[in-house]
C-alpha cells in the first residue's frame, strides 16, 4: 500500500495576513502538533527537515522525532532531509539507531546534501566536496550499522580503529534509507547502487524533470541487480492547499503564496500551479492531480505533502491535515491501488526489513570486562 504523509521545513515565517510571527517555541510545538494530527488523520509518515540557520527551527531532528515517538503510536518518523554532508556519519549512525530503539522501529531517514551554502563552512566542510562527502559518509554510515567493529579511514573524517557504534540497530536491522535529490543524477545512482529508496522533492519542478530523475534511478536500480525497474522504491514531494470550493482555496492561499520565502515575488500562483505539483483547490482537484503522478513516474511508494510553511497558522494547517485524512488520502489509496501490479513492493518498514533478515535478533555488543563497568554478561546465543 502507498504511504502518505506530511513533511515540514520548520520555517518561522510571519503570517502575511496578520503580520504575526510565531516564536521558535510555538513553531516547535506546532511541529509536534502536526505530527500528532497526521497520525490521528490516518496518515503514514511524518518527516522533518534539518536546518542550521534562521528562520528554521529543526536543527536536531532526532530530538524532535524522539519526542514525537513518545506521543504517537503508529506513524513512521522520517526526515527530509538528514544532512549526510555536514553531519558526522558516526553521529548519524548513533542518533538514528537510538531513535529506532525509542520509537520501536518506526523510523526511516532521507539523506540529502542540504541547500544552504554556509552550512558547509560552519561545520568545517567545503561545499565543493558536497557529492564526495555524500558518497564517503554514506559508505561509512552503512558499515557502522552493519558491522559491530569498524576500522575505517577516508578523506573527510578522522580514521576509526576498533570503533563500535552504539546502540546497535534495533533487532540488528538498520533503518531504511531514502536518498533525496532534486537535480543531481549521481544521487539517484547512489540510491540505485545500494538498493535504497529515492525521493524526488519535486515541489518546485516540472513533472518532466521529476520523471527523468526517477526514470534514471529505476534504470540504474535494475542495472545494479536489485530487480526490475518498476520494483524500485520511489517517493515524491507534493504541495497542496484545500478548501471545499476551489475559489475559496485560491483566495485564502494567494496572500501566503505571493510573499512566500521560496517562490514569492516570482511566478504567479497560476503559473506555479501549471508547472509544479502545487495544487490549490478542491479535494477532488488534489485527488485528480496526484492520482495522475504515477502516469509520469510509475507506481510509487511514498507521497509526502508540504502543508505548513509560508506562515500558515497552525489551526489552518491542522484543518488541511484533517481534509487530507478524511477525503484525499482515502481516495488516492483506492485510485493508486487499482491496477497496481502485484510485484511492485510497498516501501520497506522495520517489520518487513526484519522479516527479510530472517527475523529480529538482539544486536547488543557486550564489551569485555573493564575496571569501570565490570564484567558484562555473556551474549545470548544467536
Amino acid at each position: 500500500m502507498m504511504q502518505f504523509g506530511v513533511f515540514t521545513v520548520g520555517d518561522v515565517t510571519p503570517d502575511p495576513t496578520t503580520g504575526r510571527t510565531p516564536t521558535e517555541g510555538e513553531r516547535i510545538a506546532s511541529m509536534v502538533a502536526i505530527a500528532k494530527a497526521a497520525e490521528d488523520a490516518g496518515l503514514d509518515v511524518f518527516a522533518t527537515g534539518e536546518h542550521h540557520n534562521p528562520p528554521f527551527v529543526p536543527s536536531s531532528p532526532t530530538t524532535l522525532l524522539g519526542y514525537v515517538a513518545a506521543r504517537t503510536e503508529r506513524i513512521v518518523l522520517s526526515t527530509a532531509t538528514t544532512l549526510i554532508t555536514t553531519n558526522d556519519p558516526v553521529k548519524i549512525a548513533e542518533d538514528y539507531a537510538m531513535l529506532q530503539h525509542l520509537a520501536g522501529g518506526r523510523v526511516d531517514l532521507m539523506l540529502g546534501r542540504g541547500n544552504t551554502g554556509p552550512v558547509y563552512p560552519w561545520f568545517g566542510k567545503d561545499i565543493r566536496d558536497g557529492l564526495e562527502l555524500a558518497v564517503e559518509n554514506y559508505a561509512l554510515l552503512r558499515r557502522l550499522w552493519r558491522e559491530d567493529v569498524v576500522d575505517w579511514s577516508g578523506k573527510h573524517r578522522t580514521p576509526l580503529q576498533s570503533f563500535t557504534s552504539t546502540p546497535r540497530p534495533l533487532d540488528g536491522v538498520p533503518p531504511f534509507v531514502w536518498h533525496g535529490s532534486i537535480r543531481t543524477p549521481q544521487i539517484a545512482e547512489q540510491a540505485a547502487y545500494y538498493g535504497d529508496g529515492f525521493f524526488h522533492n519535486n515541489i518546485f519542478w516540472p513533472t518532466e524533470h521529476t520523471a527523468a530523475m526517477v526514470d534514471l534511478y529505476r534504470r540504474r536500480w535494475e542495472h545494479h541487480g536489485h530487480g526490475p525497474a518498476e520494483t524500485a522504491i520511489v517517493g515524491l514531494g507534493g504541495q497542496v492547499f484545500v478548501r471545499p470550493r476551489s475559489q475559496d482555496a485560491i483566495a485564502e492561499f494567494r496572500p501566503y503564496f505571493d510573499v512566500a520565502p521560496v517562490y514569492g515575488h516570482g511566478p504567479s500562483l497560476e503559473e506555479f500551479m501549471a508547472t509544479t505539483p502545487l495544487t490549490v483547490g478542491s479535494p477532488q482537484q488534489v485527488i485528480d492531480r496526484y492520482a495522475a503522478m504515477r502516469d509520469h513516474v510509475g507506481d510509487y511508494q511514498r507521497q509526502l505533502f508540504l502543508v505548513d510553511h509560508a506562515g500558515l497558522p497552525l489551526e489552518v494547517v491542522l484543518e488541511q491535515i484533517a481534509i487530507l485524512g478524511e477525503e484525499i488520502v482515502p481516495a488516492l489509496r483506492r485510485e493508486l491501488a487499482a491496477g497496481r501490479p502485484a510485484h511492485v513492493p510497498d516501501a520497506p518498514t522495520h517489520a518487513t526489513l526484519v522479516a527479510a533478515a530472517g527475523g529480529g535478533r538482539d544486536a547488543t555488543v557486550h564489551a569485555p570486562a573493564d575496571a569501570v563497568t565490570g564484567a558484562s554478561p555473556e551474549p545470548v546465543a544467536r
Partner: protein, 209 residues
Amino acid sequence: MSAATPEIRRLLVVSAGLRQPSSTRLLADRLRQAVLAAAAARGLALEARTVELREHARDLTSMLLTGTPTPAVDQLLGEVAATDAVVLVTPIYSGAYTGMVKDLVDLLPDGALDGVPVLIGGTGGTVRHALALDHTLRPLLGHVHAVVAPSAVFAATEDFGGTGEGAASLARRIDRAASELAALMVGRPARRARDPWGVTDLADLLGDG
C-alpha cells in the same frame, strides 16, 4: 576531415533587444546571414535559430528567484549547452549589456559555453558606446570559457542610415566578424550533445569497482 557528408553544426542567435521592432534584432539578423554565408564558404553546413531573449525574460527572473526553470527556459538553456556557435547581440544600457543577458549567463548549466565560439554584437544611440562590448560582454563570456571572436560588432543608430561611410563600414565589420566566427568553428569538431542524465557507476566513485 574525412566525412563525405559534413555534419550539420548549430548556430544559436540570441537577440537581447527590448523593443519591438528592435535595432538589436536587425543587427542580429544581419550577423546571422553573414555567418551562414561565411560558414558556407568554408564548407560548413550550418543550421541557425534565432531566439528573442525578451520572450524568456520573466521566466529567467522566476528561475533566479525559485531555482526552477519553466519548460521554455529549460529548453533554451539546453539549446545553449548544445550549440556549436552563438551570435549574441545586446543593446548597450548604462555602459554595459542588459540585465537579461546576465540572467541568461548566470543560469547556464556548468560548461554550457566551454570552448564555444561566440560572436558578440551591440547597439546603442551613439558610437561613444562602441567599446562597451569589449569592456563588459567579452570578460563575462571569458568567465564561462567561451571563445569570443576577435571583432565585436557595434552598431550605432547612425550606422543604420544613409549610404555614407557609416553604413558601408558596418557591412564590412559584420562580414569580418562573421568570417572570424566561421574560422573558429572550422577548427572545432561538431559538438556532441552531453547526456544530462549520465552518471558514474558508484562502484567507481567508491574505488572498489
